[in-house]
């Protein structure tokens, strides 16, 4: 009886899981919502200033483990593709920029790409951020092409594929 009960329980879970499995990458279309936020070092960051470049927007927070883990990789990607018309744009979603500034300041490999602070979550809402971290790829025309949720080791290969194909346009 007990083995059958356990099997029944597992079948029930599998059934529920089938209804709620998330999609990790969604294709979207349409113009990327415009925004202007204050950034690191007091600079103002406006999305329109990057028109003509491929933009990879990464929504992150210091309290999010996978976000911290992927940061050095984002710096590598930025350095490699910047000369070809690419920019990385990190959007920190915390209400107080102090934690992010402190963490960025202590990095062994400092980031050189722009970091913006979305203190009232307006931009996160506009982009329907559904997971942490979330990465949005915007093409040279300013349209959202792909949205990727989460970060697991190896996801950077997916990022590179998207960037290379969009740079060719």
């Amino acid at each position: 009886m007990s083995a059958r009960t356990v099997k029944g329980i597992v079948k029930g879970i599998a059934l529920a899981a089938a209804f709620v499995l998330p999609a990790f990458a969604t294709s979207s279309s349409g113009p990327a919502p415009a925004f202007k936020l204050s950034g690191r070092g007091g600079k103002s960051i406006d999305l329109t200033q990057f028109k003509g470049q491929v933009v990879m927007i990464n929504f992150w927070a210091t309290w999010c483990g996978p976000c911290r883990q992927e940061m050095p990789l984002l710096e590598d990607i930025y350095k490699k593709y910047k000369p070809m018309g690419f920019t990385m744009l990190a959007v920190n979603v915390e209400p107080d920029p102090k934690a992010a500034e402190a963490w960025l300041g202590k990095l062994a490999k400092p980031v050189s790409f722009p970091v913006a602070f979305d203190v009232d979550s307006k931009v996160s809402k506009a982009y329907n951020v559904a997971g942490m971290p979330s990465t949005v790829f915007v093409d040279r025309k300013g349209n959202v092409r792909v949205m990727h949720k989460g970060y697991k080791t190896g996801d950077e290969n997916f990022y590179l594929t998207q960037i290379r194909s969009m740079l060719k346009e």
Partner: protein, 75 residues
């Protein structure tokens, strides 16, 4: 004991919730406080297991002492 039937019910009910039109009301970018290490129910499992054992061996009650949830919801 109709345990099997009982246990499948809440699963189906929640599966239905998954396809309804209610949106998760706490957004992933608002999970800062929930991700704080002080917000876990059990900070030190080794200590909690020991205390649970101390109580269970002196009391008539047993069960329903565990539970998880919360956290940063990353990935």
């Amino acid at each position: 004991m109709r345990i099997r039937g009982l246990l499948v019910l809440p699963v189906l009910a929640l599966a239905a919730t998954g396809c309804s039109s209610i949106e998760p009301w706490v957004k992933p970018y608002d999970r800062e406080n929930l991700a704080d290490p002080i917000m876990v129910f059990t900070r030190a499992p080794i200590s909690q297991d020991f205390l649970d054992h101390v109580f269970e061996s002196r009391e008539g009650s047993r069960g329903a002492t565990g539970g998880g949830g919360g956290g940063c919801g990353c990935n």
